[in-house]
Symmetry: C2
Subunit: 249 residues, 2 copies
Amino acid sequence: MPTKRERPGRGDGNGAGGSVVDEAIGRLRKRIESGEFAPGHRLPPEAVLAAELELSRPSLREAVRALAMAGVLDVRRGDGTFVTDLHPERLLSALGSFLDLAQDTGLEEMLECRKVLEPGATALAATRIDDAALDGLLERIERMRTLQDPEELVREDLAFHADIVAAAGNRTLSSLVSSVTQRTARARIWRALVKSDVLSWTHQQHMDIYAALRARDSLAAFTAAGRHVGDVELWVRERLDPLRERTER
Amino acid sequence: MPTKRERPGRGDGNGAGGSVVDEAIGRLRKRIESGEFAPGHRLPPEAVLAAELELSRPSLREAVRALAMAGVLDVRRGDGTFVTDLHPERLLSALGSFLDLAQDTGLEEMLECRKVLEPGATALAATRIDDAALDGLLERIERMRTLQDPEELVREDLAFHADIVAAAGNRTLSSLVSSVTQRTARARIWRALVKSDVLSWTHQQHMDIYAALRARDSLAAFTAAGRHVGDVELWVRERLDPLRERTER
DNA sequence: CTATCGCAGACATCTGACATCTTGGGGCGC
DNA sequence: GCGCCCCAAGATGTCAGATGTCTGCGATAG
């Protein structure tokens, strides 16, 4: 029997699975991989494509919608369906936009990822950051001293770290970090935690990181970022653990 | 008409956008976020859900398919549609499988990400790895000495590093690394590069990493992994650059 | 008590049609 | 001749209805 089509557990759904739609996704994927549908390419109208793949338009639309969700295709109403630029950061950001649905139990894992990512990214940034970006960072630090609204403050803190990673000049790395960071940024979580005592030590640590970057000192940047994230992790953990016991079933 | 439905730019497709389907995706997302649809929960039949959201079944199916692709929903034919466990690694691996569609120009960025990720992950693994995992690593190293087929060898090398990251005990971190690593693992690229001279230094470096892990020495593990990835980067770069000039348009 | 059969429910898919938006060209006025 | 406006073609967006097929569980017979 050539195609017995047993069910491979349908692990994550994509690939060439048992359904017509999954198979269409796989076929479209292959045609993109092969270069037949290059980045920026406009693919045939839905009706034509559906005929080629031998399925109905609604089913094709499901496949296209799925690929659009993954950041691979870009459908423009009234115009056509196009292949995106397929830049890693686009695919990663599509991925990351769903990461904040993760269970709260994953928060510690996320923080641990930050602990791995940010020191390296900051060290990398120290070798490449330009003066304009440095001035911007200093500006953000100063602004954080004046802000009172916790939500605004968290946003600014996030932007501070995002700017640093962006200064590393690796957009893939940026997307990776933002995927993880965004997850820890749920306002509703932080709002209950943020108190006035945060500013005291975060400000100093931000200044340490800034100074290391200004000096283009990778090692110091690595150390400062590592300590900062580590302290944040401790701070969050000791405030979250008692809260978790209460919500335990 | 009550809902004027203006278009807010339709950023990357998801969220509550201009189309009925996008809005349905956003609404389902919110209901999952709010806890109304908890992990493992079975959501209403398509017909009922379509009625609730005030759209047709094909459109609802597009939304459901998109969320299934993102690893948020799990549709079982003949049974129903369920919310997955929403573990970060599931969400990451679901859309992460599309990362290898990224343009080849991103390969250097990917390697740089590995340079940031692997040392930290390896250092973390040094604090948590158990003896069984260590034995498994040694076994892989030995197996790599005997293998000849480049493809098999690359696969084994990948598994070696994946096992280390897995030993760090952070599944989110594992998925993150595998997203990046998998991208650099395109067999067609490596097959042209791998030569017999690879084994000499990779074997020694793998042994260094193994020794550091066995000693539970985080710092040594960090250093060894960093040097290994750095050397791989250099090795790839000096073999890829001349090849790139040739394929330049 | 167990194993098998059958039915109801749920997803899978198709056919066909209509609505709406984008785009580019033709007609009109200047 | 040049530029603006309008409209028609094409593409996606959405819907309705109908039928196939599989899963899971209860009923039934051994």
